[in-house]
Symmetry: C2
Subunit: 426 residues, 2 copies
């Protein structure tokens, strides 16, 4: 069937309803026309985000499982983040190999362990995204691909994609039962809740301006996904959210111990019409990759934020829970159960885990054997977040034979997931 | 005050919420990357529409006057469009000079006068936009600039601009009373109403697909304003709206007299997944300028639509009411009163008219004298829609001295309006 007309309308709808990203550099034009440079900088030349013309069907059993699973996984992440010794012990080998995780651990120790084993502020929360594959044979129903505990993106786009799919299915006269998707407003509500909690701790102080800080990368292309949350924060809650990069934070922020470790921001140069404000919530949409810390002062900024009384989304502890090593350890006997005493909940969680192996010691030897015997069945993943660096097939085999035991410590081996296939129009 | 930060957020908001236009050709990049050509064609490289950072204040008296005035003006336009002889008589000189108005009059005569002085279908309606200036001295409160009776644009953008201004005023902590703006959904409701009326006339027929047709220009940059209405038609009313250019219509449409003059569309090649449909409403977003009729078949298409049983938004009669000549005649004694018997309503309307003069006969001689004596106080406007062709100051004076009496018939002279000034950030 020729659906070019539908595709055209879907693209127009997507662009018209904020399913957009800043155009990549190669799409842009330099132009002398007055004002163009400015327009360009504000990210107003955009392309639509990739999308499928129609939603992919998911059966009700799977949908129900994912719905039941998510709050339990959120609690699991939270409980682990509170077990400081577990984090330190589990990551003790990784921090020696992976410098990035090592730096995070240093901040964690100075902020938490150095502070009598408790955070400066008890205000922390996660906006996590758990990625799954629907498996080929529906056994189990879902396999977890990864746990994103920091800077999880596409919340705004998820809500907008549902609107788009409502539109396209109606347009094509397809009878589809689309679940509600209020994610965007719920994300804003979560941040607003933390903001209000912070404001409550400032009782008696006369703060003139209190704002949320979104920590962002320079030249972020996904700005519309991020700003969707800021806009909703303003529209639904009247709370302002200020974008700042880690180097701006290093320049403009100070933590005043005598003011209860409040995060003071000199914002005169930001064009916001306000000279100074206090940061209520620090919402990270950057800081998850070594590229986000090109200079030492970025690390200093990260530490400063962690040492402040602002609510963190997430704390460094949360971020550490997202390492591959923690995911691998969770697969070991008794670990999930340590954090989720309910056998029912532990079972719910365990069912979605793919089999994983540490690459150190005895486990590493066993894993290497398994993987070399059947390179097709496994994937070698670096501990760190970010994706794109996984090794498959011959490349994996070559790496396993080449790397030293210490080098291998920075990786985990994972059973390869066979996802179910679905015909889509992209 | 430095508001660069606010401006940046406002631009992001605008782009994210559909206040966009297709980027002009000069902003686009040719690129080999697969799929780019297609993306380009679907208008997904966009720039934000121009906007003011904050809304311009209008006092309540003016707002109330505009609110009272609009329905009366709509009725006036409608009443004039129904007085066929008045249209023919009033435009008799213009059609000799202005070829475009002449062609419209031919269609009007063949469709209406040739049909026993009544339209093939009684279904017609207007989506008009009345443009005013707030006057410098508020006497009168408003001066009408023009009456747009066809293809009035920016209904979608108007609703979106109100959302934007709600956002920016909240962001800047400005206490502003913004009126509700439901224009977008109201436009869709108007078209849906006409669609339903049309469907009611087809009782007993087994039409498999009935759709609204939006008549559009090739390479329209304002597609997001137009598609906002189509999307709302689908989302709120489940009615599909198909974009067609006049040359597509000339190729794909036929009017079947034996089927009650129904407009049949062969849509197999449009990629809509439907082979054929019947046009319920013809909504013109093109056809207002000679450029929209580059070939004779475009005129044939326009005539075909007028001769069909589809509801027209607007009919040719409505379009003729929008000529400058009609506006000028309305300024003469007794003309408004002929169509609006209520003295109160006639007065309401008259107050917003700028003084106008026909350029033919005695009136033309008087007008020329007035204008040459004070070129600063008048503007010479061509009869036709479109703007941008008005003559001011010395240019006007030169034209008045150069043109023949016949040439001048294509123009009217209008008192120049002194608008109130307002500081804005654009």
């Amino acid at each position: 069937m020729d659906v070019s007309g539908l595709v055209e309308r879907a693209v127009t709808y997507a662009v018209s309803h904020g399913m957009v990203m800043t155009a990549p550099e190669s799409y842009r034009v330099e132009n002398d026309r007055e004002g163009w440079e400015k327009t360009k900088m504000s990210g107003s030349t955009v392309v639509h985000t990739p999308f499928s013309l129609f939603p992919s069907p998911v059966n009700k059993e799977i949908y129900q499982y994912a719905s039941d699973l998510t709050p339990v996984l959120n609690r699991l992440v939270h409980e682990i983040s509170r077990d400081h010794q577990f984090l330190i012990d589990t990551l003790s080998e990784v921090v020696q190999v992976d410098k990035f995780t090592g730096r995070l651990m240093e901040i964690f120790k100075s902020a938490v362990v150095g502070n009598g084993n408790r955070q400066v502020s008890p205000l922390e929360f996660g906006i996590c995204r758990f990625d799954y594959f629907v498996t080929e044979d529906h056994t189990p129903l879902l396999r977890q691909v990864e746990l994103n505990t920091i800077a999880a993106s596409f919340g705004t786009m998820s809500t907008r994609a549902t609107s788009l799919h409502k539109f396209t299915t109606k347009l094509a006269n397809r009878n589809v039962e689309l679940p509600q998707n209020q994610l965007l407003s719920e994300l804003a509500t979560a941040i607003a809740f933390a903001h209000d909690e912070f404001v409550a701790t400032r009782k008696g102080k006369e703060d003139r301006s209190v704002r949320v800080i979104m920590v962002v990368q320079h030249g972020e292309r996904n700005i519309f996904d991020q700003e969707g949350i800021s806009e909703t924060l303003m529209e639904n809650h009247g709370i302002d959210c200020v974008r700042m990069s880690l180097d701006q934070i290093s320049e403009l922020c100070t933590v005043l111990e005598e003011d209860g470790h409040a995060l003071h921001v000199q914002s005169g140069g930001l064009g916001l019409g306000v000279e100074e404000f206090i940061g209520s919530v620090v919402y990270f949409r950057a800081g998850y990759s070594p590229n986000d810390y090109p200079e030492e002062r970025c690390w200093k900024a990260r530490e400063l934020l962690e040492l402040s009384s602002a609510a963190k989304c997430p704390s460094v502890a949360y971020q550490l829970v997202g390492t591959k090593k923690i995911q691998q350890v969770l697969d070991l006997d008794g670990v999930v159960e340590r954090f989720l005493p309910s056998a029912e909940e532990a079972d719910l969680v365990r069912r979605c885990f793919a089999k994983q192996w540490s690459m150190s010691g005895k486990s590493g030897v066993e894993a290497t054997k398994l993987a070399l015997a059947n390179p097709h069945g496994y994937v070698l993943k670096p501990q760190r977040e970010g994706g794109g660096n996984n090794l498959y097939e011959e490349e994996m085999a070559a790496a396993l034979e080449r790397m030293s035991a210490t080098e291998l410590n920075a990786y985990i081996l994972m059973e390869r997931i066979r996802p179910a296939m679905n015909e889509s129009i992209l």
